[in-house]
Every structure is written in C-alpha cells, then in structure tokens.
C-alpha cells in the first residue's frame, strides 16, 4: 500500500464506531459491512449488538414508524397500503432462523474472487417475529396464480447503482415461516437491520431477506434487476477454479448447504494443556442438523460433538466437544456436519466466481503448551 493509501485507511479505522454494535470486523464502513468475531458466538440467539451487517447500498433515511406504509400490489384483487399498526394487528408468527450472507467464507476461496472477504462470521441466529407474508397477501386478495413475490426495500442505489429488489418463488413466500419481521430477539428491528419491517426467508441466503421493506408485489415473472441476475446466482454445473461461468448456466440460489464452523478455540491460538472446549455452530438451510463430528488429528479420527436442543429446520445448533489432549504440540481441529436429509459437509467447497456458499469442513490450528 502506498504511504498515502495507508494514511487514509488508518484515518478511517481510528474513527469508526457503529452505533449499537460491539467492536466488529470492519470490512466496510460506508455502507456498513460488519462481520461478527467468532468469540461472540456463545449463545443460541446472537445478540443484536453482535449480529453481522451486510449493506449493498447505503441505508435509507430513518423511517418514521407513523408515516411508514407497506404497499401490497401487483396481481392482487385489493391493493393495500398497510400501516405498521395494520401489520401488528395481523397474527404474529415467531420464527427462530439463522441468516447467513451468501458470501460468508468468501475469503477462504482460492483463487480470490471479488467481493467482501468474509471469514466465518457473516452469519447469526435470531428470533424473528411478525405477520406471515401469506396472511398479508390473503388480505390483499392474492390469487394462487402469481409465480413470484417481488420485494423492494426503501434503500436506493447511489449514482446508477441498481435498486435492491428481490423476487421469491410464491411457494416459498407463502410458507408459514416466511414473515415480514417487525421484531428481532423480542425488540423492534434496529434501523441497521431493516426497521421497521424486513422479510425473513428462513433457510435461504441472507440476500433473500430484504430490509426496510416498503413494497411487496405478486408477479408472474421474477424481477430482472441486477440483484436477481447476474447477482446472487450460482453455477448449475461446477466449473474449474478461476474460470468464468456460462451466464445461461447460472441459477438463482434456493436454500443453503450443510455447514459447521468452529468458534472456539480461535485459529492459531495458544492453549494450556488440560480440558479444552471445542465449540461451534452448524446449520443446513431448510434442513435440521443431525450430527457434528470433530477431529483433532487432521481428520484421521472423528468424534461426535454434543448438540444443543432444539433440532429445528432454519435455525442453527450449537455444538461442543470436551477435548483433553494428552500431549503438547500443534493440532489441526476439523468439524463436519450432517443434516436431516443426509447431506454431509464436504472437504472442498465448490469454487464459484462470486465466492458464494462456502461450506467446506472447517479447520483451525492451535498450539497446546504445557501448563
């Protein structure tokens, strides 16, 4: 880095505190792209002040809850403008769900791909509550024929940056767990996470869960904007690392793969010989986690980790293995998850040009020293 660039970077770092957030791994401050350090992942529900943030474009100006309106239109017989009070009057569903950025783990791919170089922490598990999308659409008289639900957030692009609009197959939108969340871990959703209302699409990639939702439309076709195509697409057939994808063979991502991550001990840490807790989380999109195995010898022998209850689709399970190494030395610790559908976390995550869906067996190295 040239001296001038280094000075600019330092000036930014020294002054950045994100209101309402603990110290976070700062990938970008304008707009905010914040990763949760793994040491904060010590509870089933990730506290709001530790939850990761991914903004594509700057946040909209703070939304006045009294002035807020949700437009429900498109292929509906009764287009609506709903207030926050209207949304609060509908039956409220509570859904524990993990949200993971599509690009979480991108930084682990070789060759490097453009985008935020996330490590393990662009993920979190929260309890979301709000009306079901199905109930909102029912109130608007939506027929069963539209194939898609289009969702627009209040954020708008800078210069000619595309607007953030996403489409969801109607079948997923109508699922009873798909909600317009008004609450996150029991409190109003903070502005940085989409106040006053954000979509929650359990088991799908984070980009599906649009923030600051101001419009939902029933539509015959999927939106054709950047964030649906070519954004957030994944090769239908695996391609050699470093090679371009064929645009016609890129598909919208639906669901998420099976994955576990190690949150303790931290990579390249030094530990005293004795009892060592190896901990982490595992989730599998629309499936539930069945098993997590841990190896402390580079993958020769595997032991089952203890899993937290409950076993649910959409939400992660925390896992724990009490490890008592006999000798000092350097150890390679691995974790491997299996889900209720029988999917097993792979040794190699398929390389793809956007660095999405990293789910390789996790790996940390630690040095155990004589106490």
């Amino acid at each position: 880095m040239t001296a001038g660039a280094a000075k600019l970077a330092r000036a930014a770092d020294d002054s950045i505190a994100i209101p309402g957030k603990r110290p976070m791994i700062l990938h970008n401050d304008r707009p905010e792209d914040l990763e949760t350090p793994v040491r904060y992942f010590d509870s089933w529900l990730t506290p709001v002040d530790a939850f990761f943030v991914r903004q594509h474009i700057p946040r909209p100006a703070p939304i006045d809850p009294a002035a807020y309106r949700l437009t429900v239109n498109g292929m509906v017989s009764k287009p609506l403008q709903l207030t926050l009070a209207d949304l609060q009057k509908l039956p409220q569903a509570t859904v524990p769900a993990t949200i993971e950025c599509t690009g979480n783990g991108r930084g682990f791919y070789t060759p490097k791909v453009p985008g935020i170089q996330w490590g393990r922490g662009a993920i979190g598990n929260a309890e979301w509550a709000g009306p079901r999308i199905a109930d909102i659409l029912k109130a608007a008289g939506a027929s069963s024929s539209p194939a898609f639900l289009e969702t627009d957030g209040a954020d708008t692009g800078v210069a000619k940056t595309p607007d953030f609009v996403r489409s969801l197959p109607m079948k997923k939108a109508m699922h009873p767990a798909t909600i317009l969340a008004l609450k996150m871990n029991g409190q109003a959703i903070p502005d940085i996470h989409g106040f006053p209302a954000r979509l929650i699409v359990p088991g799908w990639d984070g980009t599906s869960s649009v923030k600051w939702v101001v419009r939902i439309s029933a539509a015959a076709e999927a939106n054709k904007g950047f964030f649906m195509n070519p954004g957030y697409r994944y090769p239908k057939y695996a391609i050699p690392p470093g090679s371009p994808a064929k645009p016609a063979e890129l598909e919208v991502i639906e669901g998420m793969p099976v994955k576990s991550s190690i949150t303790a001990p931290e990579d390249q840490g030094k530990l005293a010989l004795g009892s060592i807790a190896i901990r982490g989380f595992a989730w599998a999109g629309e499936e539930a986690i069945e098993r997590v195995e841990v190896s402390t010898d580079g993958g020769s022998r595997w032991r089952d980790a203890q899993l937290s209850a409950p076993k649910l689709p959409f939400a992660w399970r925390l896992w724990l293995l009490d490890w008592r190494p006999a000798d000092p030395g350097y150890y390679t610790i691995l974790s491997r998850a299996t889900d209720s559908k029988g999917r097993v976390q792979p040794i190699v995550a398929p390389w793809n040009p956007s660095g999405y869906l990293w789910n390789a067996i996790d790996r940390v190295g630690v040095t155990v020293e004589k106490a």
């Binding site: 880095m1 040239t2 001296a3 001038g4 660039a5 600019l8 970077a9 930014a12 770092d13 002054s15 950045i16 505190a17 994100i18 209101p19 309402g20 957030k21 603990r22 110290p23 976070m24 791994i25 700062l26 990938h27 970008n28 401050d29 304008r30 707009p31 792209d33 914040l34 990763e35 350090p37 002040d49 930084g107 060759p111 490097k112 791909v113 453009p114 985008g115 935020i116 170089q117 490590g119 692009g157 800078v158 210069a159 000619k160 940056t161 595309p162």
Partner: protein
C-alpha cells in the same frame, strides 16, 4: 511530491518492477475522486485481485455511473497495491459502538 519521493513510495509498496510510480500516484488520486463518493475505500483495500479482475470491477463500477477519468492509472495503482500476489490484510475492528 517530487519524483524521487514517489519512487520511494513505490518501493515501499513493493511495487512490481516496471510499475510507473507517477501513474500509481495518479491512480491513488483517481481512487479518491471516483470511488469515495459511493463507498469507503476499505471495500477496495480489503481485496486482493488480479489485474484482469480489477479491470472487470472497474467495468462494473463504470456501468453503475462512476466517471473514471484516469482509468489506466487507477488500474496500475490497484494492481501494485492490491494485486492477488499481495498478502491479505489483517482484520480491522471497529470501535465499540455500544458503550458510548
């Protein structure tokens, strides 16, 4: 800044042999002019990409309305400082925004 100082800055950055320090310096000015209006520079500085990949990013940004004037210099600057042969930067933490 004199030519000699620019040359030294280039060496300090581990510039590839043959990189033109004057172009790299112009590229840095171009970065400040054309990138900062939409996002902080951390988004750029945290990535390590090949020249071809940076070039593609510049295409994308131009398509999104960025008027890049000195594009060759910007590309030179990106390759010299943030090329895929450079080590990834250490993570940077934000300050505590809760205990204010």
């Amino acid at each position: 800044m004199t030519g000699r100082l620019l040359w030294l800055a280039g060496v300090a950055a581990g510039a590839a042999l043959g990189a033109d320090p004057a172009a790299v310096a112009r590229g840095q000015k171009e970065e400040a002019r054309s990138c900062i209006p939409c996002h902080s520079l951390r988004l750029i500085h945290s990535q390590r990409l090949s020249r071809a990949a940076w070039n593609k990013e510049l295409d994308k940004m131009a398509g999104w309305g960025t008027a890049i004037v000195d594009r060759d210099a910007l590309l030179e600057y990106l390759e010299v400082n943030f090329g895929d042969d450079k080590a990834p930067p250490a993570p940077v933490m934000s300050q505590d925004g809760v205990k204010k």
